[in-house]
Amino acid sequence: MSPLHDAQAAMARAIIEGPSHVPADLFEGSGKRVMMAFASHANTVSHARLVALEETFPHARELLGEERFNQLSRTFLDSGQGSDASLGDIGGAFASWLDDQEAGDALPVAQFEWNWLESYRAAEAPALTMQDLGQLDEERLLATVLELHPAARRCTANASLTDILKLPNTDQVMLVRPDAEIRILALEETQSRTFSMLEEKSRSVSNLFAGLSELMDETQILPAIIALVGAGAVVKRNRDHVETI
């Protein structure tokens, strides 16, 4: 360990556990000045993380109330969760951590908000369209390999979330971003099962039909696929794909 490493470890401890942990001989100036300086650094760190959580979860915060959200945020940070994450990624750790807390109706809302941010940052990709599929003969259509668009996400929904999104009541919602902006749609059960199969792995249309036929009535399969394609949730995978069943 170098002296620089020792100094940084001591400063980290002082920020996390309090300025009384600063080695007495590390800095010039009075003890009060050192205390205030480290209080300022600790405040900057804490404030930046709290603001990042507030900005990532505005609706969950409103639903929980400022006091409860602040309490949960501080408990999350005080337990050391997310301390290795950047401000841009700390919300992912918080959304996972909330799973084990008593967040009530706000849990699906928070998890939706994190999924929204993931979708917002996801890679661009040309979404498959019904027009694309319509140009294929049956053989080529069945061999076409489908996978989820990089920005497609699915979340559990509750009444609080559908109220916020102004959607009809549903158990699942899907986020897609085939163009510039994110679109949010209610998912029916057959569509959700189709999403699951594509989430699991890329599949040819024929394989997807075969898999879905074990999960739903055959008359429901095509409408479910069409719904996902029409929403922009699916892309066509290149032909180098090797399918495993």
């Binding site: 170098s2 002296p3 590390l26 800095f27 010039e28 300022s40 301390s83 950047s86 940052r121 920005a151």
Partner: protein
């Protein structure tokens, strides 16, 4: 004394002009992309813009599209906050790789980070933490800058920090430390004049001495920002919060430096309680006034 190289990558196709720029915030995207108003209500547009690249680390999406649109209109400076150049474990090279991907996409005129550290062990602090000014730390920091510049394939600027405390083991001044870094790595200096005032207030030193000791040839960009102060009875602590207008004392130090250096690209930084664009435009206009007063009396080094 080494002058700052403009570029080692050819990416400085549009160098930062020696004008006033602004730290770009999402709420001002539309205003900086619109025209400059009309004859009766002209709008002050920035000469260039700066962004925090970490806010645009994404595989795709709207934020990158905004950034691309802004880059088509303005020279851009990337002001990174996450490389942790001064970490004892070395810089965060995964962060450098993310930065490189964005640089390749947008080709900014300048890339900078800080004379500070923010990572140790499993901790990633959203703050700019101070380093001791001694020979081993200087050697360590120089190696870090060289490593990052090699990975980026270009030179960078390093910003002088705002300090709340001096290390008891400091063996050289901040100016000496920064000058050595620039001379040994070929990097330049992002000279934050508000930070000079904040550090001087906290450490009881003379800010004018720092202003007069910095070699203008090293300076590729200047930052101006506001700060807060706390009265602790027996001392005043200045907090570098970027949440208010540039202080009069900072303007005076800026004018003192520009009188010696000639015009330099100058950024108005305002990161907390961000005001309407018109307020930032007013601050830019003040900086432009200073820059214009000293245009032509020096060889512009931008």
């Amino acid at each position: 004394m080494t002058s700052i190289p403009l570029s080692s990558s050819g990416a400085f196709a549009r160098p930062l002009p020696p004008k006033a720029g602004v730290g770009l915030k999402p709420q001002h995207y539309s205003e900086v992309l619109e025209d400059g108003g009309d004859a009766t209500t002209p709008k002050k547009l920035p000469g260039w813009v700066e962004i925090h690249p970490q806010n645009y680390f994404a595989d795709g999406g709207p934020a990158l599209r905004w950034l691309t649109a802004v880059a088509e209109k303005y020279p851009i400076s990337f002001h990174s906050t996450g490389i942790s150049l001064g970490s004892a474990e070395g810089p965060d090279m995964a962060e450098v790789d993310r930065l490189k991907r964005l640089i390749d996409r947008v080709e900014p005129a300048m890339v900078s980070d800080h004379l500070s550290w923010n990572q140790t062990g499993n901790h990633n602090f959203p703050d700019l933490l101070p380093l001791p000014y001694d020979e081993p730390t200087l050697d360590h920091f120089v190696r870090a800058v060289e490593r990052v510049q090699t990975r980026l394939g270009r030179t960078m600027l390093v910003e002088n920090p705002s300090r709340y405390l001096a290390f008891s083991g400091d063996t050289m001044s901040e100016v000496e430390f920064l000058t050595q870094i620039c001379q040994r790595t070929g990097c330049g200096l992002l000279f934050d004049i508000n930070n000079v005032l904040v550090s001087a207030t906290n450490l009881g030193t003379d800010p004018a001495e720092v202003i007069d000791a910095i070699d203008p040839a090293l300076v590729g960009e200047i930052h101006l920002a506001g700060h807060a102060t706390e009265d602790h009875g027996d001392f005043i602590m200045a907090i570098d919060d970027h949440g208010s207008a540039v202080a009069d004392a900072t303007w005076a130090l800026y004018e003192r430096f520009i009188a010696r250096s000639g015009p330099k690209p100058t950024l108005i930084e305002w990161d907390t309680d961000v005001p309407d664009y018109s307020v930032l435009a007013g601050e830019m206009a003040k900086a432009e006034t200073v820059l214009l007063q000293h245009t032509g009396s020096h060889v512009a080094a931008a």
